[in-house]
Symmetry: C2
Subunit: 246 residues, 2 copies
């Protein structure tokens, strides 16, 4: 299970990776079964907590898939206030924000030690000229991102009350871990309370209070950044509609 800096990711990683439709399209298996990964996935890159994967205004040249770890994306408004726009975990794609303007529109900072697969975009385009499936898969990935963003708006805006927003956030995260084949009821929150509060547009104190209240209500169980969802159904319910009770 080696994964040095320039190696090809081992098969387990690629199978569980949500980017595999991109860098491992089925049809390519027939065309170039042995060297295809090496052709598209340039390398694995290792990053330490707090490192930038890319910055706003950096030239766009690559797409990234997270092999292990997590990343937060942020944006600095003209008012100078930093706004976190999303969190990304293992198996998720990053960097598509730069395609249109050929410059990255957001910052990507790792939340912990993280490895990413680098997919050079020009090679992807080149490949897509010969193989339509590649471009189609790319489209699929992108539309799923649009979809995710829609749901994001939905869950955050729809929940003007703090408990709903947080519940929704936790449920969404749970779903994403489950999509990776990991436990959906118990996981590690790589981001700080402050990051969560920024992302949800709430005060960090409110997040703190909600965590303890959720625990009092038997919805969750947590110790620092480790969290266990005890009642997924009630949480989803909270996320769904604002209940005046309590």
């Amino acid at each position: 299970m080696s994964a040095s800096a320039n190696s090809i990711p081992d098969s387990y990683t690629c199978i569980s990776c949500r980017a595999n439709k991109l860098c491992l399209p089925q049809c390519l298996d027939d065309i170039c079964p042995s060297d295809m990964r090496a052709r598209i996935v340039k390398q694995q890159r290792l990053l330490q907590r707090g490192d930038y994967l890319f910055r706003e205004n950096d030239d766009f040249q690559e797409i990234y898939a997270i092999c292990h770890g997590s990343i937060k994306t942020s944006l600095i408004g003209s008012d100078g206030i930093l706004q976190i726009t999303g969190f990304h975990i293992t198996g998720e794609i990053l960097g598509l924000d730069g395609i249109e303007k050929r410059k990255h529109a957001i910052n990507a900072i790792t939340l912990e030690t993280t490895t990413v697969c680098v997919i050079p975009y020009n090679q992807l385009e080149e490949l897509s000229n010969r193989e339509n499936t590649v471009m189609r898969n790319l489209l699929a990935v992108m539309t799923s991102q649009i979809d995710a963003n829609q749901n994001e708006i939905m869950s955050v805006v729809g929940n003007r009350n703090a408990s709903g927003a947080l519940a929704s956030f936790l449920c969404a995260l749970s779903r994403r871990y489950a999509a990776n084949g990991e436990q959906e009821t118990e996981f590690y929150l790589p981001m700080s309370r402050n990051d969560i509060s920024n992302y949800l547009g709430l005060a960090k104190e409110t997040i703190s209070r909600l965590f303890t209240r959720f625990e009092d209500d038997g919805l969750i169980d947590f110790y620092q950044k480790q969290i266990r969802l005890l009642n997924l159904k009630k949480l989803a319910n909270l996320a769904g509609h604002p209940e005046p009770s309590r």
Copy 2:
């Protein structure tokens, strides 16, 4: 220059339309100058206020560009509560939400009498097999949508206070009208106060109060759905976000 039900949209409409990169790629001019529009733009469709352009779960077959009018998109959560996810005005694209799953993910309802150009997606794909520019333009349109969604999240979530959210909403709309070459300081709000409140996650009474407060503060001037922005700078300031990014 007629534009009856099945005709090709007249050149003015297409030039001002944001979809023209899609249905009128430059390179195609050389290949099939005369009949190209007819080949891709299937028809113009006329809709009355309240009509559905498409519904959640409808089979996805077409993309739409709004020639004239406006459309709101919405989504019904698992709790049965309707959430408005966006508003779309002349020159904007609709329907991309269905690409991935081949089914539309949201509802699209017209806010007034509206005409749309219909772009059959399979023809677009077919065309893109021969001409890479088409698919590339499609990608560009989609990424700009992702970008727009990011900004959407940014401006709504970042503005937990109601006045900022509404100011941001008005500024964004102003920018979009300006992008169409229309007046940026005076326009018609096709959606109801209730729609706005739903979209911004506020109570409709709050929207009402804010409109009058903005008027008292000399920021805007309005009569029913007609609105004039008197102080774009202060509004942008309130929104926190702002500045027509160039």
